[in-house]
Subunit: 560 residues, 2 copies
Amino acid sequence: MERAQSPGDPTTFETHPSRYKHWKLSVNGDIATLVMAVDGDHPHKPGYELKLNSYDLSVDIELADAIQRIRFEHPEVKCVVFTADLDRVFCSGANIYMLGLSTHSFKVNFCKFTNETRLYLEDASAHSGLASLAACKGTTAGGGYELALACDEIVLVDDGNSAVSFPETPLLAVLPGTGGLTRLVDKRKVRRDRADVFCTTAEGIKGKRAKDWGLVDQLVSRTKWDEVVAASAKALAAKQTVTRGPAVQLSPLEPKVTPEKLSYRFVELTVDARERTGALLVRGPDKVDAFDGAPKMEAGGPAPTAGSEPWSLRAFRELDDALLRLRFDYPECNVLTVRTTGNAETVKACDEALAKATSGFAREVRHLQRRVLKRYDNTARSFYAVADTADSCFAGVLLELALGADRFYMLIDGDEKIAVSTSVANTGFFTTSTGLSRLDARFYGEPARAQKVLARGADGAIASEEAEQLGIATIAADDIDFEDELRIAIEERASLSPDALTGMEASLRFVGPETLETKIFGRLSAWQNWIFTRPNSTGEHGALTLYGQPERPQFQWKRT
Amino acid sequence: MERAQSPGDPTTFETHPSRYKHWKLSVNGDIATLVMAVDGDHPHKPGYELKLNSYDLSVDIELADAIQRIRFEHPEVKCVVFTADLDRVFCSGANIYMLGLSTHSFKVNFCKFTNETRLYLEDASAHSGLASLAACKGTTAGGGYELALACDEIVLVDDGNSAVSFPETPLLAVLPGTGGLTRLVDKRKVRRDRADVFCTTAEGIKGKRAKDWGLVDQLVSRTKWDEVVAASAKALAAKQTVTRGPAVQLSPLEPKVTPEKLSYRFVELTVDARERTGALLVRGPDKVDAFDGAPKMEAGGPAPTAGSEPWSLRAFRELDDALLRLRFDYPECNVLTVRTTGNAETVKACDEALAKATSGFAREVRHLQRRVLKRYDNTARSFYAVADTADSCFAGVLLELALGADRFYMLIDGDEKIAVSTSVANTGFFTTSTGLSRLDARFYGEPARAQKVLARGADGAIASEEAEQLGIATIAADDIDFEDELRIAIEERASLSPDALTGMEASLRFVGPETLETKIFGRLSAWQNWIFTRPNSTGEHGALTLYGQPERPQFQWKRT
């Protein structure tokens, strides 16, 4: 048996269906099936057993991988069916003992990652012609039901026993942590008083009532189960109008990992543990990506290599991986500079090629870039974008990193080599979770200013001083002041309370309209963050701590 | 010197300008001036001194009273000017030592109340022709700047020294707790990267930069101060198009208070400390309110009495007071039944009279009812509305209490005396903080069902069984089951973790679109709730704990 990850080991977010331990992916025509078959003996870290299809980070990493691969490698798939290899349990949710053993920062980051994975499932349905069906043939509890809620349709077995449930509040004194409350009332539009009953009924709701209340879409007997599930999947698949493809295999990322540095082909993350700071560097493309014409990396063809993958895909997959490792493995790295290096014109040309390409594959690449940029927005670290060398290339899709950062520092150089550039990538495709583009969010309430930047950008690169005047740079300074100003800003930031910064950044970054997504991260996660730290859940006599033990939890009764 | 409130004393939210200790209210034509002149020797509770126009609950209770009275008693006022009696300080925010001495539940409820007061100021501007101007002639820090942000216009003195600031994050490791972050970027549309700089700069921002960044609207020298402030107030007043009046003095509420019971004319709150439960009872009107014709209670006339105030005003002022006392004085009262008693037809007739009345006073009464119902939505206790007697009167504006409750239990009686009724009050005026009516929020995504209820309601009372079928009652049961079902539901609720319930209810109650208001309560308050409990702020070595002492705070550095 392969050993579980030890504390301190780097977290690996890369996997492959051939190595899955907890899911079985199969594809049959336009239907993919993901069978949840959690291997209890392979938890993410030692100390607990994954019984009854309960999940932990390793299980969710495989799930995220599977959804991503279906989008790229199985473009023929129009519907993914979630089911389980157990007869009486679909999924019993996040493993409680795992939560009990985890640090607060791990718990919060685990919830955030599982939320993102479920949002990506919804994203695939909304944008990529990939619907999803939860075929719940047995107990569907907690995070298991949250997975079902993220699907387009929920089918529950009608066996007089199987229920959907959110037992978190009554049993653990915490909330359903993966968007469940919001999806219940805002997505499925379950009446709020019924949602109240549901969320406080540990055993959940089954049968006709589950259907009447809108908790599930269909009730199906055991005898008709396979037939109805197959027909429902077919029906969902038939509704899809977006075409993906051609199939492209995702190449391994295989970063070089040391305690101080993650090195990928285009991305580098350097960490200074003593200073609690980091440096994120993204390299621009060497050449312009080609998207149309014959696909270079067909499924079933020779194994893809990093070199064969377009920069637009590769660099953002690397960035995604780096952000996840930053969250989980470097919890004390509080402030990061974000720099770019390369040729701005080539970045812009890649953006143009991607926007003009007609293939479904190219569209998938853009959607992936959009998701990765959202992951960046949603990473609870301070990001200071910095343009201080002539080969800085905050252009197009990379300019989004500067617009998404908490601040953007630009050095004013004599010959105006340091500049930003806009491209088609900045005109609205890369929405944040509020639904606004990063330029519109920056100039919230003044859309004309965003248009002015785009109009000016169409005329060529915008040097530091003008970028500040236009509102792109937070601070532009000449070389007498720049280095000191930036150094002091980083030192000051690194000295502030990380909790207060997380709350402050979450409030300032997500200006503007709210969506299901911002509600999930901005409200639900915030509540969860608090509730997880309360003695009533994680204290010595808290419900989460005492779960599975004979002792009754003892609560502090003051309401706040 | 009058003593401060002792711990355990009931909190009194009633006051009167003649008794203000911390504000001076004067009215001159269409301009009112509220001078902040905090009396340091009269804190809300003993243990700290209110220096430098810092505030505590007592100061904010007077502020809330003043805004309310200007709306009702001074309808000629079109603009209220906030200023201070100190020469170099406008307001230095919430008192830090008060926060340090307070329990977590007090802090959270204090923040919620101050948020509500500021939202009411914005409400007065939006709906009642009462604009506000913050005349900040000196340091405007923390909650002081949050008060300014709630005004329509901010004037800052340009003396080379006076700044606006949010020092909470850098100095105290908490967030600006009164909607400041949201108002900065969402209301005033300060660019998010500039907001980031502002919120981490303890000394704040003054002069031209404050104006350029949109933190203030005008900069004025000391020599021109009085003149410009007066002119700005006049200009704001001149813009108002809504007319209030006639003037009506608010009568004293003077509830009878015992540790187990608050008794008002129309409202009763009974608390069972051992069971952690409560019972809220609202009595319907004895007679139909009259709003048009000669006002009964002119300003300057004889002191008003409870009997002379319309039920529509009186009952909701009492309910408001009871909700505030519930929040502050009964923190362990977790679950409350909400019952009504009286004549449903008279309630409906009052609603009709109010909706048809043409006076500004009548409109103010409706706005007050709307605010009180929002205060109810926003009270972190479980509310179970109960209709189980023939004289129950969940009709019209009182039906909103059932629709706003977490659940609504109705007894099915043989002769269908127990029923709900709709009125004009349910058709959309009483929006929740999401902007939806309570009926539309209940049937979110299915507006036709709300219309169906209103259409059915127009035909007469809706008895329990039908109310359940229409989706108004959560549970309707006959007398064999009713009592047990309700009893068990209350006992179960009272046994659950109060923290988890608060988070759950906040997520389920505010279904639908988000607004500045829901962002403030749902996001900012949630973050604040968490951050206040973190060791980095309130721990032994936390920044809030050590404020004013030579020791440096020690932080836990993990980001979550």
